[in-house]
Amino acid sequence: MATNRKRSLLILDILAGLLFVGSFTPMVIPMGKNEPNFMGIPYTMWMGFVVSVLFVLLAYGVSRIQKRNDHAD
């Protein structure tokens, strides 16, 4: 059980690391390009919004896994 939790946390950490690196590449911030837009919203804006939501979801994932862990209380 503890090993599973550790593995799940490692997967989330790897995903967060990849998302962190990806956020600073042309995948999210292409220089001088605002296409393709989504419902009129420029690319970097909607992609940035998606990245923000993904980080919150990853954090939520960690919180679900940590829920049953031993903690400071």
């Binding site: 950490d13 967060a16 962190f20 956020s23 600073f24 590449t25 999210v28 911030i29 292409p30 220089m31 001088g32 390009k33 605002n34 837009n37 419902m39 009129g40 919203i41 420029p42 690319y43 970097t44 804006m45 940035g48 919004f49 990245v51 923000s52 939501v53 980080f55 919150v56 990853l58 954090a59 939520y60 960690v62 919180s63 940590q66 829920k67 862990n69 903690h71 400071a72 209380d73």
Partner: protein, 467 residues
């Protein structure tokens, strides 16, 4: 307008007096006065941390950032804030464990314990003082200048500054951290609703979000992509900002204290997730305000633009609420920071608790007065330190995180290299040292060296296991 503002201010002050009476502590101790008695639930934890984090800068600076530099401002703050939430939820729990184990009073004191050296504590405390006091001063001065512009010839600028600092000090001195957290909650709710009303009005001006961006494109297409019209948003800029913001919960004592005093791990987790959601919801309306400004007020000064978007273009009631929300935001961020500096000092003093609290309370007044003086005689150098406040305190992150995460007996490598990095950083900002090395900005170079020091500390210097 002045009448509305005075009525709103009077109501705000009455609420503050009510809160301070409710939270007043007769027998002040480190636990109940400086640490709010611990036991902070998820809702209050969320609002107090959010209010501390989202200062007047968010209300004034972010719309202006969007207006001037375009949509890349979202990556600069919103994406970095949600990255911070991930870091907080991963490391926050370990900080709480260590803090409980080592009788946490402040991050500086914790560093003394983990490094078994006073130098580590002095570096953490010195770094906080050097960067936070100018930040507080510039924030107070900014709001005072804005109030003076909104109500010219009512009172001089310094009277506005004095009033803000007086409210801040009296409130903090009387009620302690718990009173500050109640104020934060009040301010957070007020600010949240105000900026959403203003943001909604900005969209309504264009009819829809789609037509808003279409109009911005016709005015200045460069605002819709990075690096923005002035070329500010480079990948290096984003990385430095992200590193500084991710480290905030550990390098800014007002936030780390809130992490430690949360009631339970479950409350911390809910608070962290809530903080991510609030970050998105708070920054989103500032995007609308910024795009509105980019179309209607592209060439005006920051002060004029904010004056229009927050005051003159709004109904009188909303404008008054906006203004008082702005003052409240400045107060809640600044009093948390001044109070945190007091707590940091307390954590370095090893004398009887009552005496230590008395000394701390004197220094909270001293820090407040210093911030007031600096806000009145704001110099170019102070503004520079304030502007680089987050990046500056981030230089302490490798030392602080090593102290929190390592279970080894640590050497003095990290405190010494952090002290040197802080000096290099300030000197480079002052122009006494180059601002970049081989095309890399000095902040990244210093951060890289500090990460190397962390590796050396773990592999070479800190081998003995703590008994």
């Amino acid at each position: 307008m002045l009448t509305n503002f005075l009525i709103a201010s009077a109501i705000y002050l009455v609420v503050l007096i009510f809160l301070v009476r409710r939270t007043r502590i007769k027998d002040k101790t480190t636990s109940n006065y400086l640490l709010g008695g611990g036991n902070i639930g998820f809702v209050m934890g969320l609002f107090t941390t959010a209010a501390t984090l989202f200062s007047a800068f968010t209300v004034v600076g972010m719309p202006d950032f969007f207006r001037t530099h375009g949509v890349g401002a979202w990556i600069f703050l919103a994406v970095s804030d949600t990255m911070m939430v991930y870091g907080l939820i991963r490391v926050g729990e370990i900080l709480r464990k260590k803090a409980r184990h080592l009788d946490f009073k402040g991050m500086s004191g914790l560093m003394v314990s983990t490094y078994d050296s006073k130098l580590a504590g002095y570096v953490a405390f010195g770094g906080a003082v050097v960067f936070l006091i100018p930040y507080i001063a510039v924030q107070i001065s900014g709001i005072s200048i804005f109030l003076n512009a909104a109500f010219p010839d009512v009172v001089p600028v310094w009277v506005w500054s004095l009033s803000i600092v007086a409210v801040m000090i009296i409130y903090s001195e009387t009620g302690g951290l718990r009173a500050i957290m109640y104020n934060d909650t009040l301010q957070g709710i007020m600010l949240f609703f105000t900026i959403w009303i203003v943001g909604y009005n900005c969209i309504e001006h264009f009819g829809s979000i789609e037509s808003m961006f279409a109009k911005v494109e016709s005015v200045n297409k460069e605002l819709l992509s990075v690096p923005g019209p002035k070329g500010l948003f480079s990948a290096q800029f984003f990385i430095i900002s992200a590193l500084a913001i991710i480290c905030l919960p550990f390098t800014q004592p007002q936030i780390s204290t809130r992490v430690v005093i949360m009631k339970s791990s479950s409350s911390l987790r809910k608070m962290a997730i809530g903080l991510g959601v609030v970050a998105i919801l708070v920054i989103l309306p500032t995007l609308f305000m910024g795009m509105y400004g980019a179309v209607l007020y592209p060439e005006t000064s920051t002060q004029d633009f904010i004056g229009h978007v927050l005051l003159h273009d709004q109904a009188a009631g909303i404008a008054a609420l906006g203004l008082i929300g702005l003052v409240a935001a400045a107060i809640s961020t600044s009093d948390s920071q001044i109070f945190a500096l007091g707590s940091e000092l307390r954590s370095l003093i090893h004398i009887e608790d009552k005496k230590a609290i008395s000394i701390t309370r004197v220094f909270i007044v001293v820090f407040g007065v210093l911030a007031l003086i600096f806000s009145i005689v704001s110099t170019e150098h102070l503004v520079l330190l304030a502007r680089t406040s987050f990046t500056g305190t981030a230089m302490m992150a490798p030392m602080i995180l090593t102290g929190i995460l390592s279970s080894k007996k640590l050497s003095l490598l990290m405190p010494i290299s952090t002290f040197a990095a802080l000096l290099f950083f300030v000197f480079s900002k002052l122009g006494w040292l180059p601002s970049s090395v081989l095309g890399l900005q000095m902040e990244l170079v210093l951060f890289g060296i500090l990460v190397l020091a962390v590796v050396l500390e773990n592999l070479v210097f800190g081998k003995k296991v703590r008994s």
